[in-house]
Symmetry: C2
DNA sequence: ACCCACATGTAATGGGTTACATGATTTA
DNA sequence: TAAATCATGTAACCCATTACATGTGGGT
């Protein structure tokens, strides 16, 4: 099968990451040397509720990525809890950048609980629609003030997201004319 | 334990639906009496890639909801494949409306593959950011034309979503100044 | 007859969620 | 010192995903 010719083989192999893994790597990159607990907490406190930040997701994820060589684990022995601190390896950083700058995946729509409802909003009466959309607007306005734990760049992004979302909601009513 | 006194009990019980279940119910409401295959196909062809529309998700979901009394199943014997056709029960319609008009859940952010990246875009250089955002813009523009299978209200919503998304992307660059 | 797309599911897998168990640290 | 909270995990469950198995009908 002439292995000498048709063997581009995988030189670097892409390293596929789930979105949660990508986010976790990014968070580690921001903080450098952290425990799983810290990452889970950060996720849990973030206004983005894409993931719950549950221990049952984060601890195994970081263990997985360590096994894959994306993270390096250290267990300092300064008394108290035996904890595990993780930091990015070179491969981990490369994988992170690959995930972060993946424009194809980024362009996808993901899941939006509002969008998936609006698409079927023609099933209910004009009046019910109106009440629903008003309530949604109120709820989003309320979430506008909820701030990121560390008032940083992420906070600015969040504000921008909420504003854009609100602008979109205001256009929905017009789709029924 | 005096059951006669402290028994407001659950009068109607809310009927919790996962988002996929809600979407499936909505789709059935739109079409009335369908097979699991038709629903799965509709999901798969929809430009919203929240769910894959895989048989392994849809068939069990519709079976579950039948067991819960939200759907009624019929197996017509007109030769050929023995197929199962589902339609909404009264409880199913009530559950659908409850899910559809749930303004609290609808106001959530869900998961957005772009947002979760942008939040950490300060990790890379100005130049990398710029290229990434340009590529994302191109990809979204491309998805603008992809149309819903049945050119209906859903199509209008989709167009509106993509336009809003594009508008937001254009503001991102400004967050780094 | 044969092949391929359509159709109806089931099975194995993966990974995220809630709950739980346990130990350490702070606070009243 | 007892209770509450912080911290570090593990376990069981749920459910969506990819693959697979099977069966039917239409085209060649």
């Amino acid at each position: 099968m002439s292995p000498s010719i048709d063997a581009p083989t995988k030189v670097t192999e892409p390293v596929e990451l789930t979105d949660l893994e990508g986010v976790v790597l990014a968070e580690i990159a921001q903080r450098g040397r952290v425990t799983s607990y810290a990452i889970a907490k950060a996720q849990a406190e973030s206004p983005s509720e894409a993931w719950s930040g549950s221990a049952g997701a984060v601890y195994p994820a970081m263990k997985r990525m360590t096994a894959r060589g994306l993270l390096v684990a250290a267990t300092p022995v300064d008394g108290g809890h035996t904890r595990t601190e993780y930091s990015l390896s070179a491969e981990g950083r490369a994988a992170l950048v690959g995930w972060l700058l993946d424009a194809d995946r980024a362009a996808g729509l993901g899941f939006d609980p509002l969008r998936s409802r609006v698409v079927h909003l023609d099933l209910v009466s004009e009046r019910e629609r109106q009440i629903f959309l008003d309530n949604v607007k109120v709820n989003i306005e309320a979430s506008r003030s909820t701030s990121w734990p560390d008032a940083s760049f992420a906070q600015k992004v969040h504000v921008s997201v909420v504003r854009a979302r609100l602008a979109w909601v205001k256009t929905i009513r017009g789709l029924f004319d």
